[in-house]
């Protein structure tokens, strides 16, 4: 760890186009994008990342917005801060799970400066927003010099800190469809101390059919237990089309725990992470179910 950052040239584009243009000019190795910089600046101090050119997009105000309508659903500009999401009345009303999630992302200080797009683009497998957007069936809009594309939230992260973003691309927007009726969503992250990085995290969205008895649709997303946030599709299959019961939820937890592919690290073993997934999926799905019943 060094005290002082290495020298770099600093660009502060005012538009997405400008930023993309700058990106195209410099090679992947020597050029990095910084938004809030809450992760990147630390890597730079450690000299693990030493860009010659830093494209500082924090000032692109056009990417700072939250909009919602019933048809289009929710749209969040990539440079919206975590704090803005946490405090947004629209999100509070239609997607309270997002506000809940945000409240446990690092510290208020980080949330005040760090951006949602920066967080997702960083591709940290233990990041909080990604599993929630996956559970919410979110899509990510990506801008490139040759036009735009959209990918499913679940396909965005490829592995440890690796995403589908090409070097000359920029994540610009997160889109979340309006929730179907009778849908409950819950996110829980497990860490020994509150506000810490997740040891394991689970987001579940459950939609009940009109009579609120049977689960018509379900999405289960896991964080921190694989190289990238992932869907627990086998666990989903166990619940989909079924009447939710404690026993069924436990089975879903078991399935998810088998689907996950955690690794042992200095703090926790693979077995323990699997155990956590088992317990968390059961509990979180139950809460999502309770919420769906009330929705």
């Amino acid at each position: 760890m060094k005290t002082i950052l290495n020298d770099f040239e600093h660009f502060a584009p005012k538009t997405v186009e400008e930023a993309l243009d700058l990106l195209s000019r410099y090679g992947e190795e020597e050029c990095k994008i910084v938004a809030g910089g809450q992760s990147l600046l630390i890597l730079m101090k450690q000299r693990l990342v030493t860009p010659k050119y830093l494209i500082d997009i924090k000032g692109i105000s056009a990417l700072d917005y939250i909009t919602f309508d019933e048809q289009q659903g929710l749209k969040i500009g990539a440079l919206t801060t975590h704090r803005a999401i946490e405090k947004s009345p629209v999100i509070e009303k239609y997607y309270p799970v997002l506000a809940e999630m945000e409240q446990n992302v690092s510290s208020v200080e980080t949330r005040n400066w760090g951006t949602i797009g920066g967080n997702i683009s960083h591709g940290d497998p233990s990041g909080d927003p990604a599993p929630v957007f996956i559970a919410l069936n979110g899509r990510l809009r990506i801008a490139g010099l040759n036009g735009e594309r959209t990918v499913e939230a679940e396909d965005f992260t490829l592995g440890y800190f690796e995403t589908v973003l090409g070097h000359d691309e920029l994540l610009t927007e997160i889109q979340v469809p309006a929730l179907p009726p009778h849908t409950g969503v819950k996110y829980t992250k497990f860490s020994q101390l509150q506000g810490d990085y997740a040891t394991a995290s689970v987001a579940v969205s459950i939609t009940l059919e009109a009579k609120k008895k049977t689960c018509s649709d379900v999405r289960i997303a896991l964080g921190a237990v694989a190289p990238a946030p992932m869907r627990a599709k086998k666990a989903e299959e166990i619940l989909r089309g079924e009447k939710i019961s404690d026993d069924l939820l436990a089975r879903a937890g078991q399935a998810a725990s088998e689907e996950a592919s955690p690794t042992t690290d200095a703090e926790v073993s693979e077995e323990y992470k699997r155990e956590l997934v088992k317990v968390l999926v059961k509990r979180v799905a139950k809460e999502a179910f309770e919420r769906a019943k009330k929705a």
């Binding site: 760890m1 002082i4 020994q192 101390l193 509150q194 506000g195 990085y197 200095a266 703090e267």
Partner: protein, 762 residues
């Protein structure tokens, strides 16, 4: 005791305004004109021969003003155990070989931190890695690599205590149990990192150092030994210090190398560690292997205890040898132990060395002793509070040849706790438990390992013509609030306000020697020195007043509320201010000065007085994940006469946080001698949301040795947290632990084991 006008009152921190306005200056904030920035190149190997160091390229970097390696140092060795020169094993820069990852091998001074850091990258060091040893039990083997060639089997220090007849007592016991523990290290993690600014004056050959230190005097001695200079030619100044907790007692390479670089360049040099350096290359709590055997009567009375400790000392001595001594003592507290045997060994290993940390010696041993006691109580069918009560020390209790406990409120503490818990937590939720642990600690140490001929504490009081007071003290306020306590004691004696006192602090050139802030010594030891100094002045004032009154000598005079008057006829007296003026004028203008000092005498081997008490932790365990939720804490303590209840509460809260951290989450993770979590991201500290509320109940006693009856407060309270937490988990779900950091995975495993045992039992 209620007649005090300052003592026992909630007095606001005398440094408060400076600290809330950002004006308080820490060594970290200091710069001097023309100052250079120093950085240390550190060894990446745990144990390696240094073949060569090539600084040519680094020298060429513009802005680099000096580079030194081991051969450029005067070669002085130093340490805190100066009584035993062979334990003075530290060096400024490694020369022949490196002994831990992070040991400095070269130092650079440059015109900016940036250049200094770049210069480090240009220094080429060739190492020949040597086999290294990290485990203390491996280190003592005959074929283990030697960390210091002169210390065979890597044994750095030993300590043996025995009293009574242990073997006979075990034979007489109804119940015996043995438990083994591996107790981990813990980092002090002070908010202000180690840093020092050194300025050498070529003209006079004198050196001034501003440093983040707990003991300016220790630093002065360390620098003198390291630089082979006279003590008197070194002036150490301690500005505000951003926390120490035992980690800033030793003279560390940053101050020595800043001084060497300043000497070489003729310019002031400042070295500031970054947080990673703070984690890998500053001292930490002593990890240990501990075996404890206890023999009890059926009714829970302790008959005998036998304790074995092998500590992981790391590469150098620091205060780790003291830790070994204190561990052997405090594992008996606060219980009557008629028969006791202790064998302690401190080993050298190829890791950053371990040393003193808040409650050193006690924190780890309390964990072992108090969790064991709960298991014994459970087996014997005795209530955990009752077994503690039955064995509690009483005033005047003596351990033969070791210590004598004068004031002792532990029984009252236990009784108060019992009452309060019943009232506060009448019913527990499922999987919720309450755990208790007692604690005790010294009020300053007696053993003179530093080998100083000076008094342990000294203070000087100068009263000005207008009645204001300049108090000169080397007592080190490192956050614990000793400045406020110092001013309060002085104000109480002279009958004036805290605001009338100006403090002159922590400067070895202008304050009388004090050994510094460790082992909870400032209130009792420095407090006694200040009290004596102020009383000397008071005596002078009284004699002047007496003469003016012309009263017979049998009438006692009181100095209080800025007046000096006859105790029995308060209306007869004078204003304090008038007497001060008269005293100075009548004595031919001689300034009104009092000097006081304190050194404990005839107080045994350990300490003049002991603070103590009991803590309760209420916690809830998640049986499926092993997660522990800290819910509530009660601390009942006896710190003698509390000097400042506000400050004492702050200290109790803070030390409880540290003790709970030791039990819950703080863990230094190591891989082949490398600390792999050297940051606040990966080294887990309790923060706001996980900190439970604490209720503090004071059991006042009066210790004859302490100033106004005061003794240790809130170092002892660092010890019980981990034990009380483990006991709470034990009572909630039956899980037992032989290590201290109760991370969820460990808890879950223990729960499963317990369930398995229960099933097998059925």
């Amino acid at each position: 005791m209620s007649e005090y006008s300052v003592i026992g009152k909630p007095i606001k921190n005398v440094d408060g305004v400076a600290k809330v306005t950002g004006e308080a200056v820490y060594a970290f904030d200091m710069t001097l004109p023309n100052m250079l920035y120093g950085k240390l190149l550190r060894s990446p190997h745990p144990h390696a021969k240094i073949i060569s160091i090539d600084t040519t390229e680094a020298q060429k970097l513009p802005g680099v003003k000096a580079i030194i390696t081991g051969k450029d140092t005067p070669g002085g060795k130093w340490g805190l155990w100066r009584r035993y020169p062979e334990l003075c094993d530290q060096t400024a820069l490694a020369t022949e070989k490196v002994r831990y990852i992070g040991e400095p091998v070269a130092a650079v001074a440059a015109t900016s931190i940036d250049i200094a850091e770049r210069a480090l990258d240009l220094i080429q060091v060739e190492y020949e890695p040597l086999p290294a040893v990290f485990d203390p039990l491996e280190a003592i083997k005959d074929d283990a690599p030697l960390v210091h060639e002169d210390f065979e089997n890597n044994i750095n220090a030993t300590r043996h205590i025995e009293w009574g007849n242990v073997d006979e007592a075990f034979k007489a016991a109804d119940y015996i149990r043995e438990d083994r523990f591996t107790l981990s290290s813990q980092h002090h993690a002070p908010m202000e990192v180690h840093n020092a600014l050194a300025s050498y004056d070529k003209g006079t050959g004198r050196l001034t150092v501003w440093a983040s230190t707990q003991s300016p005097y220790f630093l002065q001695l360390g620098l003198a030994d390291a630089l082979k200079m006279r003590e008197g030619d070194i002036r150490v100044i301690k500005p505000h210090v951003g926390g120490g907790f035992g980690g800033k007692n030793s003279t560390m390479p940053e101050s020595v190398n800043a001084a060497l670089l300043s000497k070489k360049t003729g310019r002031p040099v400042k070295i500031v560690y970054n947080r990673e350096e703070e984690f890998i290359a500053t001292e930490h709590r002593t990890a240990m292997n501990l075996a404890i055997k206890i023999g009890l009567k059926k009714d829970g009375t302790i008959l005998a205890k036998e304790v074995k400790i092998i500590t992981d000392g790391g590469a150098y001595t620091g205060l780790g040898a003291t830790t070994l001594y204190l561990a052997g003592t405090f594992i008996t507290f606060p219980y009557k132990t008629p028969n006791y045997r202790y064998d302690g060994f401190r080993t050298y290993t190829n890791t950053m060395w371990s040393s003193s940390m808040r409650g050193f010696g006690a924190v780890s041993t309390v964990y072992a002793a108090e969790t064991q006691l709960d298991r014994a109580a459970h087996d014997l069918g005795i209530d955990p509070l009752e077994i503690r009560r039955r064995n509690a020390m009483t005033p005047g209790y003596e351990a033969p040849g070791q210590y004598k406990v004068e004031s002792c409120g532990i029984l009252e503490c236990i009784d108060k706790m019992k009452e309060r818990v019943k009232e506060k937590w009448p019913k527990l939720e499922k999987d919720e438990g309450i755990g208790f642990a007692t604690f005790a600690y010294m009020s300053g140490g007696i053993f003179n390992w530093i080998d100083t001929p000076y008094a342990f504490s000294g203070a000087m009081v100068k009263v000005n013509i207008d009645g204001t007071v300049d108090l000169f003290t080397q007592a080190s306020d490192i956050g614990q609030g000793s400045n406020t306590v110092a001013a309060m004691i002085c104000a109480e004696v002279l009958g004036i306000d805290v605001e009338d006192i100006r403090l002159h602090l922590g400067d070895t050139a202008i304050t009388l020697t004090d050994l510094g802030a460790w082992g909870s010594r400032e209130t009792l030891m420095n407090g006694n020195a200040i009290k004596a100094a102020a009383e000397e002045v008071k005596k002078k004032l009284i004699s002047v007043a007496r003469m003016k009154l012309g009263e017979n000598i049998v009438y006692d005079l009181v100095v209080k509320n800025k007046r000096i008057y006859l105790e029995l006829r308060p209306e007869r007296g004078f204003s304090y201010y008038d007497i001060v003026r008269d005293a100075i004028k009548e004595n031919d203008g001689e300034p009104l000065i009092g000097i006081g000092h304190y050194t404990p005498h005839n107080k045994g081997m350990i300490s003049p007085a002991y603070g103590m008490g009991i803590q309760a932790v209420r916690a809830k365990v998640d049986r499926e994940t092993g997660h522990i939720e800290l819910r509530d804490v009660i601390v009942v303590h006896d710190c003698g006469q509390t000097i400042n209840p506000l400050g004492a509460r702050g200290q109790v809260e803070g030390s409880t946080q540290m003790g709970l951290g030791f039990g819950l989450c703080e863990e230094i993770l190591m891989d082949n001698g490398l600390i792999i979590n050297p940051s606040f991201v990966d080294y887990k500290l309790i923060r706001f949301r996980d900190m439970p509320p604490i209720e503090l109940i004071d059991v006042p006693t009066y210790d004859p040795e302490g100033p106004f009856g005061a003794k240790e407060a809130a170092e002892a309270t660092a010890s019980p947290g981990a034990a009380a937490l483990a006991n709470a988990v034990y009572h909630a779900v039956g899980a037992e632990f032989d290590t201290n950091v109760l991370r969820p995975e460990k808890v879950l495993k223990a729960i499963r084991e317990k369930e398995k045992k229960d099933r097998a039992g059925k």
